[in-house]
Amino acid sequence: MMASNVICLLPHLDRVELVNGGELVASVSVPQAREAFSSYMRGRLAEDVPLYVQRIDAHCAVSQHLAAVRALDACYNASPPKGAIAIRRALAYAGVYYHHLEQLFFSRSSGDGGIAGLVRTDDELAAHDVLQALRRARDVVEILGGRGLTPERGIPGGVTVGIADEQLSRARDIASDLLGVALRSEEGFRAGGARWVEEQELSVPAYSLATVNDDGEASLCDGMLRIVDPKGSEVITGDASQVLPMMMEWKEDAPLRVGPLARLNAASGASTEQARELQKHLFDALGTSPIHRVAAGNWAMVIELVEAAELLSSALAGLAAGDSELHASLDEPGEGVGAIEGARGTLIHRYLLDAEGIVQEAQIVSPDSLMEADVNAALSSLIAESGPEVTDDTIERIVNTIGSYQPAYVPSAPFSLRIVRRDADGRVSQEWRRT
């Protein structure tokens, strides 16, 4: 599995290794294969880009697809018609739903290996229901995106084609079921996971980056990018090309955070009714915003599951079948930056196209690379607390901490982890593994 800025090109580059020099220090290094990505994409047709990037990581294929599509809009200076934007948004919400459900139940539970053990069951929500919901979320992605795990409806300037009537009504039916599962999941989480979150005290003050809508509420698709400082004051709000330079040369005294927890902190609140209500429980339990408790990201994610389902329902309700204006005319190709608020966090793509619409340069700024400093800060304080002895408990906490960020490099569950202690010469003197 690749970290997000490498297409599955360099299978051996991904490592999660906690290393030290003499002392035990934790660090996660995200493979930075920027050049590799760019040379992979060079010479490719612009309209194919959304097909390539979604295979970087199938768990958030929708986000990658849409980020590429939005960057390509910018490359061609195109403003997609309303109908196309509406389809893309609905697709984005379906993608976030799929991702969050998959993360919560299949990637993140502390199963004992093997797929059967990954499904966390309880009386309220049988594993069967969740798997069924995941399948149906995939079906909605297929209806909206054209292909189940790897959508392809997005093209520069719009979408390829509209959605047939009967498909649309099928998607609407599914969406209301998905909301039901989301609400039950949230309840189930509050009954169990919430207490666990409260017990996890690890807290890392960070800047938060998220996409917000016109009302300053969290967006799970497009909008303005906003960064707030650890106290919650706004640092910058702008479009991707305005915010990108600051992100790339991060000089602040605390790391930058993206993802559910950052969305909680950077926005004024969820953009849907029920999700906003549910956020109150979280704030009641953990204090007022901003919240820097790493484990709270899990809680925020469950609430976003509800939010995504609500957004999906209303987006689908607003879609008109038979809308034929789904594609804008394109200008001469050039350079463009586009962002999407992806399931895992803000995701930014940049492309430079030649006059023929062929890729010359390509760059992805993924949640993984953005969060690297944040994850490492969390691990450092965790290791500092645990002392020199690496116990099963330490390993479990490391796993949970990394997991709380939902990075792309640990998509499987329970993910494997290697912690090594190195002596002064860099030789491995002790090693712990968790697979």
Binding site: M2, I7, H12, I115
Partner: protein, 297 residues
């Protein structure tokens, strides 16, 4: 119910789509009921060489192998896994054809190739490294094909013939219900101007579609989304080189001008851009040429 089968899933690398496509199978529960799981590894770190070594030789009935193979380490793992399994399925485009990763084999003078070389090798389809018994095509495998594999491999009493590809023996065109106009190919079109007419064969409209040379069974879903088939299921039965086959079809669609210099024809053929990314999107590593070479450049 036949005896419990011992099955295993291994994805050393790849995007994770393959394991999800299996997990989402509606027959998953039935499949798991009738089987023991030897392991379910979705990344190389999940399973060490040691752990694999300790398994009984031929102790696994069916191993599904997803993701591409490249350097020595992954080849060694594939060989070791082969010893442990009675039957091996190349699961998904990466294992089947090298997949999108295979394009790195062909990138000119790229840093990537140096990196690949340092990593110990170029992308290879699984069948270049070990014997493969079955193929489940697709990137990731479409649901219908996954179902067929699950039924034939895990739910049936007898095993399918070695060499079975869990897809149609016909091309994608057979499942595509677009109208045919049998237009000559006079101009290559791309999505720049406008998306194609959703009811007419893409090739008739000048858009490159790999449908004629690609194994069907996917339901031509991409065509339904008004995207061309990009060839994820690999070549149709009997075709060795998928990219060569589509280039051949395209060439034959270009009308002969009668001018023996071929100038007019060449103009059409020259306008096909990104030949490798278009004709060999998933199959560069499985092509007859396999990778870019240095022919006295």
């Amino acid at each position: 119910m036949p005896n419990k089968k011992r099955l295993a899933f291994y994805a050393g690398s790849g995007c994770g789509g393959c394991s999800q496509s299996l997990m989402l199978s509606p027959s998953l529960a039935t499949m798991l009921d009738g089987a023991d799981i030897a392991f379910w590894a979705t990344r190389s770190g999940d399973l060490t060489e040691d752990e694999i070594s300790q398994l009984d030789d031929k102790g696994i009935d069916v191993l599904m192998f997803a993701g591409p193979v490249d350097g020595e380490a992954s080849i060694a793992t594939a060989k070791l896994l082969r010893r442990k399994a009675k039957r091996v399925v190349a699961y998904g485009a990466c294992a089947h054809l090298g997949g999108l990763c295979g394009l790195t084999n062909v990138i000119p003078g790229a840093k990537l190739r140096e990196l690949a070389e340092r990593n110990g090798g170029f992308i290879k389809p699984l069948s270049a490294v070990i014997e493969v018994d079955y193929v489940l095509p697709g990137c990731p495998p479409p649901q219908g094909m996954v179902e067929r594999m699950v039924k034939e491999l895990f739910l049936a009493d007898d095993v399918p013939d070695v060499g079975t590809v869990f897809a149609s023996s016909k091309g994608v065109c057979a499942q595509c219900d677009r109208k045919h106009l049998n237009n000559p190919l006079e101009e290559i079109r791309r999505f720049h101007a406008a998306p194609p007419d959703p009811d007419i064969c893409l090739l008739d409209q000048g858009y490159i579609c790999l449908g004629p040379v690609t194994r069907g069974g996917c339901g031509a879903v991409c065509l339904e989304a008004n995207r061309p088939c990009t060839g994820c299921a690999g070549p149709t039965a009997g075709v060795l080189d998928q990219g060569g086959a589509i280039l051949q079809s395209l060439a034959s669609l270009v009308p002969l001008s009668g001018d023996i210099s071929g100038e007019k024809e060449h103009r059409v053929l020259d306008s096909i851009q990104d030949i490798v990314g278009t004709a060999y999107k998933y199959s560069a590593a499985a092509s007859l040429l396999k990778r870019r070479v240095n022919d006295g450049e």
